[in-house]
Amino acid sequence: MTAVLDKPATAPSERRVVKRRFRRPTVGAVIVYVAAAALAVLWLLPLLWALSTSLKTETEASLGQDIHWIPQDWSLDGYRTLFERGDHLTWMINSTIVSTIVTVLTLLLCVLAAYGFSRFDFPGKNVIFGAIVAGLMVPGQALIIPLFDLVNDLQLAGTYWGLALPQVVAPVMVFILKRFFDAIPRDYEEAAKLDGAGHLRVLVSVIVPLSGPIMAAVAIFTFIGSWNNFLWPLLVATDPSMMTLPVGLGVVSGGYGLFYAQNMAAAILGALPLLVVFLIFQKQIVNGVAGVGLK
């Protein structure tokens, strides 16, 4: 997706150049602020409505009742029923395990590969690199049928590994990291090598510490992508006890039927983990997306 990214996503120095200039509040500015704030509130309404519904009793939440944004009859029953059912917690744990495996493996494999491509010349390099470039254009969704068959043959269907491993292949991340590594001056490594450090040691003690922000971006995006992946886990995890959160919520919770308070409690709890991740890593995420577009 990002054949475009050729520079590290994080360029705060660049951003600071475009510092806000002092502007006297004009009518235009007031309109801009009001319009922007109104749209932002509008954008948040669906989430707020879900939150509001989740804090009502089932009776108040049911259809045909008057619409109240502030619950008339506050209640945590929706959440309590959810925890009594227990499956939500199972899915959350499954999602955490799968996304963690995917993120750790992606980071590990891509950092190694990016370093190899960035710093070495070896037989077959161009062929392998070319194959990975081509892979940028292969849509994963169009491969589900043979991939499913493969995972079945490997006897990984319905396991954490079956859920995680096919998601690890991320050519894009290799490119992003390689571009970043390419830009790191060799002098640092030469110094380490003079001290007798091997290649792996140079990677771990010189390159990796210099690549904190870009590795954080890769990790966060991989984690979010894997956490929100729907199609693959839908195919592989057919047993409710192995489902990830999006699949469990979509397939099983859809069957909660008319219990809207419980339904929205599930939605809010389903949204919460990544919203928290987003709030914590807002800067890295915003810069990471920005990096896709900047040349």
């Binding site: 493969l150 729907f230 339904n263 990544l274």
Partner: protein, 314 residues
């Protein structure tokens, strides 16, 4: 984590082509060891399935596990004559056609607003981007609830505003014409934040002095937008449109969860039909042929993207 940003971020400008000290790049097998683990995964989970799928498309392989046999082009001729497949492709195209314009135009509008409302920057960015990190099933759960014909939030307000008669509420997700639009609206709400951030980032790299010069020349805000800002955003718009095309061709999740392809298959999209053929009809061979049709379509768009943007890099 962020303290260290400065050092490497500045480096690329100074050293686009780093010097090549003797010994650092001589041909040896060492580099291969670093690349090998990734390459092995890549070969197993991407390259191999790509060819396996092509092979299956020429067989009558079934999910039931009975032995498969070579049937030549039968799957392919069937696919090209399959009305349900064409209709699924058409629905995919329709979704793309409806969703792309708002996802581009609204993203520009929001980015322009946020770029000028700097003091609310953090809150605005959060508000518009937050839905993007929410899992698809949460998104669809919330919107199914909003779209409820009787007593749902949307119809409630439409009736309050007098746009809709309470006696004939719109059945959003079950109506043949409204179902597609309902999913489009949900998708715009869900994914707009990504495009918005792309535009915002592009806007923030525009040198303010460009505008100062234009202001001195007396150019109005509209003229500045039409003759300065939008042309400067051309590259970003190209990127957004291509990424959007690729994403829309792969549409499945929202449709599956919100309408299950209905009503009357009005929202059955390409991936959904592949899923049905493979996992409900057990026809792996046929589903593989269908996959390859979609594969080629996405590939064409991707190649356009690749050419469009790798050229501009130089």
């Amino acid at each position: 984590m962020t303290v260290k940003t400065e050092a490497p971020a500045e480096a690329p400008a100074a050293m686009t082509r780093p010097p090549n000290p003797a010994g650092a790049k001589k041909k040896s097998w060492t580099g291969l060891w670093f690349v090998l683990p990734f390459a092995a995964f890549y070969a197993l989970f991407l390259v191999w399935p790509t060819f396996l799928g092509l092979y299956y498309s020429f067989t009558d392989k079934s999910l039931t596990g009975r032995p498969a046999s070579w049937i030549g082009l039968d799957n392919w001729t069937e696919a090209f004559g399959d009305e349900r497949a064409w209709s699924a492709l058409w629905n995919t195209a329709e979704f793309t056609l409806y969703s792309t314009p708002p996802l581009v135009v609204l993203a520009i509008v929001l980015a322009l607003l946020v770029n000028r409302a700097r003091k609310l920057g953090w809150f605005l960015r959060m508000a518009f981007f937050a839905p993007f990190v929410v899992p698809v099933s949460v998104v669809t759960m919330i919107w199914i609830w909003i779209y409820q014909p009787d007593g749902g939030l949307l119809n409630h307000y439409l009736q309050l505003l007098g746009i809709q008669d309470a006696a004939t509420p719109t059945i959003w997700l079950q109506g043949e014409t409204t179902a597609m639009w309902s999913v489009v609206i949900t998708t715009v709400w869900w994914t707009l934040g990504f495009n918005f951030l792309l535009y915002l980032a592009a806007l923030q790299t525009i040198d303010p002095s460009v505008y100062e010069a234009a202001s001195i020349d007396g150019a109005s805000w509209w003229r500045q937008l039409a003759h300065l800002t939008l042309p400067l955003l051309k590259r970003t718009t190209g990127l957004v449109i291509v990424l959007q095309l690729i994403a829309s061709l792969r549409i499945f999740d929202q449709m599956y969860l919100m309408t299950a392809g209905g009503p009357n298959r009005a929202t059955e999209v390409a991936i959904h039909y592949i899923y049905i053929a493979g996992f409900e009809g057990y026809r792996i061979g046929y589903a593989s042929a269908l996959s390859y049709v979609l594969f080629v379509l996405i590939l064409i768009v991707s190649i356009v993207q690749f050419r469009l943007f790798s050229r501009k890099e130089d």
